[in-house]
Symmetry: C2
Subunit: 333 residues, 2 copies
DNA sequence: TCCCAGGATGTTTACGTACACACAGACGAT
DNA sequence: ATCGTCTGTGTGTACGTAAACATCCTGGGA
């Protein structure tokens, strides 16, 4: 292995001067710097990351936690996060799975400088402790009301309300709902806004048309089949997220029902798939790339200064009407 | 920060004894070990990863390179890789993008112990050098014939041949092909097997029914539209991968054509989406989880002993017939 | 009873980098 | 001429862990 000492010897300077050239901030005479750079190239020198980390307490690495990478929403989010991190010269360690404890351990071991959680469901003691110690942690996409830390989310309540407005305005009265899991803030807020606005408009959500859709395709598919098999099925179904909406459409398709002729379907997230011809699903768009960039820059700020006050960024969302709803007049029931 | 020295002081032993307890291999008396473990818990001790790496030259971290994480195939592969790494106590650093040079640099800086490339397209000098230095590198999914390193792939030639057999046996004569990019071994081998077998069976692929489908949905969609808009369109189209097949189906749907009544579509990879009702696409299955496990265990072996001879694991693949082909009799043309 | 084997534990040091500090030389102000 | 300042560079050391080596102690065999 080639060390900075070897480079120093080759360039006829001290090891410290090599280090200064490396950091590119210290004062080094131009011709000395050139000599050192030449020696580095000649020796094929690469600084040893662990040694640098040892001194600086920085890893240039950020951890990202995702509950389920096979949900197409997360690859889209991850792509944007990865791009922002890459632009900032940071590496990305990925944890897949509902349990973020591995990531928190890594933070304690100094393997990463900070963490982005995209799928928190509750403020575990471990997470609460880390936040209390002012560890650099940003919640992206899903938030936690009770936790005082940086959070980057969208206004899911407003999104839910927008869907309610839309469905009532288009004349629906038998409105179904495939709800998500109980804990994620996204699912809770969407449901809350949806229910609240429906009630305000005089069409409170009928409990027998509300079914657990999970955040999974197969769960949503069978829930949709159950809804459609009733004597008086819903004319429109709002789904907790896009993956659920895809499942709902497939549930309808599996029964020979047509969307939107027999039933309207609305999702949430605007994953790429929903725009494809076979699905063409009305959904609520989140500004994924902007959110990812905001989360990354916020995290890097906090890594630089842990004393910053926690901030909550809430991005707007937008209803995108596609073929699963408006392109056909709503069937009268 | 709590160090092993603090723990040692608390337990009334030397720092080295703490280190021995940590490694769990050295000889430590049971009651001493208990005392040390108690002190660790009391102090909330976490070993400092960088310091350990400094001494052991091991990071317990593996890098994974993926060209495009939004292609649903890769999240499925990544999920399996992540699970296998997690089970082995390894962290995963992810690089998204066609360029793996960042990962190779990380290897040089000692940030990762080894690399898994899932989407190599060519043996760049950088990659060749790393392999020549016996760096732990495994190619997963896509291979490189000319590179002497560990590779875990499927028999894409056999897969291509199986599709040719199937289409000819079911009576197709006007067979279309949406080819993938030129470089990836998967695309090349599938095409080679497909062409070869078609020729053997007396139905060589007609060049005017072969179109560039890329490995992207939108490219495939418009290529399919072009094919179907011809005076004498194909009765079946084989696509370079599933994402391409999804695009092909959507291209057909966008023209009001029906699958399989108007045209058959076959993909490759068996991503979860292809089994969903709205697509229901015949495809060639790869044993994704097994491959991921093989790649991980192979990489860890090589990290342990760089002198192992390079090995190539080639897994079998299997044609899965679904609704995009066989469920309806092939229309006579 | 003595000695030695072998297990348990301690001491010293090195991994490669960057920080704190020291110091030499150049140059301008007094 | 003297002093102080500033720039460029070198010296010593510390980060936290684990390897190598040293040392202590216990117990069993002669």
């Amino acid at each position: 292995m080639v060390t900075s000492r070897d480079v120093a010897r080759l360039a006829g300077v001290s090891q410290m001067t090599v280090s200064r050239v490396l950091q590119d901030n210290g004062k080094v005479a131009p011709q000395t710097r050139e000599r050192v750079l030449a020696a580095m190239r000649e020796a094929g020198y690469r600084p040893h990351a662990a040694a640098r980390t040892m001194r600086t307490r920085r890893t240039a690495t950020v951890g990202v936690v995702v509950a389920d990478i096979t949900n197409p929403f997360y690859p889209q989010l991850l792509e944007a996060v990865a791009e922002a991190l890459d632009a900032a010269g940071q590496r990305m360690v990925l944890w897949n799975g509902p349990d973020g404890s591995g990531a928190l351990e890594s933070l304690d071991e100094g393997t990463v400088d900070g963490l982005i959680f995209t799928t928190v469901t509750e403020a575990t003691p471990q997470l609460g402790d880390a936040v209390a110690r002012a560890e650099p942690i940003v919640l992206l996409h899903r938030g936690l009301d009770e936790l005082d830390c940086d959070q980057v989310t969208t206004d899911n309540v407003a999104g839910g309300r927008a869907v309610a407005d839309y469905l009532v305005a288009t004349g629906h009265t038998r409105i179904g709902f495939l709800r998500g899991p109980e804990l994620p803030s996204t699912a809770r807020h969407r449901e809350h806004g949806f229910r609240e606005r429906l009630a305000e408009l005089g069409h409170p959500l009928s409990e027998d048309l509300s079914a657990p859709g999970g955040f999974a395709h197969d769960v949503a598919r069978s829930a949709m089949r159950d809804l459609l098999d009733r004597a008086d099925p819903p004319t429109a179904v709002f789904c907790a997220n896009d993956l659920t909406a895809l499942g709902a459409v497939d549930g309808a398709v599996s029964l020979g029902r047509r969307v939107p002729e027999d039933v309207w379907v609305i999702g949430y997230d605007d994953i790429a798939l929903t725009a494809w011809d076979s699905y063409d699903i009305t959904t609520v768009r989140q500004p994924i790339a902007e959110m990812a960039r905001a989360a990354v820059s916020r995290l890097l700020e906090r890594i630089g200064d842990r004393d910053l006050p926690a901030r909550r960024d809430c991005f707007p969302s937008e209803l995108l009407v596609r073929g699963s709803t408006a392109r056909t007049p709503h069937p009268a029931h």
